[in-house]
Amino acid sequence: MEKQVVKLVITGPVNAGKTTLISHISNTPVITTDEVATDHVAAIKKFTTVAMDHGILYVDDELELHLFGTPGQRRFNFMWDVLATGASGVVFLTDGSQPESIDEMKHIFHHYKDNTSLPSIVGVTRQDVPGAATTDDVADRLDAGDTPVLPCDPRNKDDSKVLLLSLFELIMRQQADYAEEDFF
């Protein structure tokens, strides 16, 4: 029997924690396309994703969840649309302690909102850094509308799980898998 594949896109600016999140959820080693950073990114990290990260969670014998991490730099933005094709949802990650990360997130967020109708969720990382933007600040700056904005530390497995599970909850709600019953 042919396997079913569900695809999610994990996107956001450089150094937001996308690869870490994918590695927590995948049960295969994450395939990365890292190259030595040469531009302003070199000040933040030595290697950066240039095409995509890819991880797979084997759900059961017939179903796989494929996680595609996009490059964070705008000059690789042609990959954003390529990776969104056939996806069921988008996870946005941004570094709450870096105003420029949130500005860049705004560009990516609206790129996806303007070009797709995919359910999405926003995770704000580095909430432990003094002075970091709160989820409320980020929601305002992104003009996030009804898109949920959650705090998330991708280094924490449960945080990564909550972000993904929340997105699947939204997807299911949009597909009317949730029916409210009369006992309430």
């Binding site: 969670l57 059961d60 699947f168 898998d177």
Partner: protein
Amino acid sequence: MEKFDHLKQLRRFIIEGGRGSLFFQTNEGLTALHISNGYFLSSKTQDDEVVRAINMLVRKQVHNTLVKELQPGDGRHLVNSGPEALVIKACYHGEIEDARVLAIMHFFSLFPPVNIKLEPLNRHSAIFPDFPAYLKMHSDSILNGEIVLNDYLLNSSFPNEIRSTLRLILTLYLLGMIVPVPKPKNSIFERIIKRVRGL
């Protein structure tokens, strides 16, 4: 046992975008709420009349509830704030008397396991102090597949903590964020959710 039909009615009108007038009788007299498409109407556009009325329903015992069709006119206007802000303001205003605390606790203690829906309540952080507690309940719900409201009430050790938990649960209940656990259908996404929970 008190059935809290007034809260159920109010919740339905809010989450189903209903239209009608709700009349509630308490020891302090008759209170009315008018709703059109899930939005509250009042004799003025400010929030205070509606907040006061919802607050009365939360804090006082309601003896009778009557639902009527909304009559047009009567100089009613849509109030400035949406239902989320009005319910939050009402639930977080004033003290709930001890007898009411026990009655409301009993009501929620009988609930079956529930899910907590995620909604962008952080938009109301200025008036909603319990957003982190809400996120915690949502995380527990989504990681475990369900939560039992009574566990949160029993885990509150101090009277103020119980009141705070009750305000949060009341707010989430009225806004339709406390929902039944969906019946399993073994859909693709349910299988993924089950798998991710088990990681």
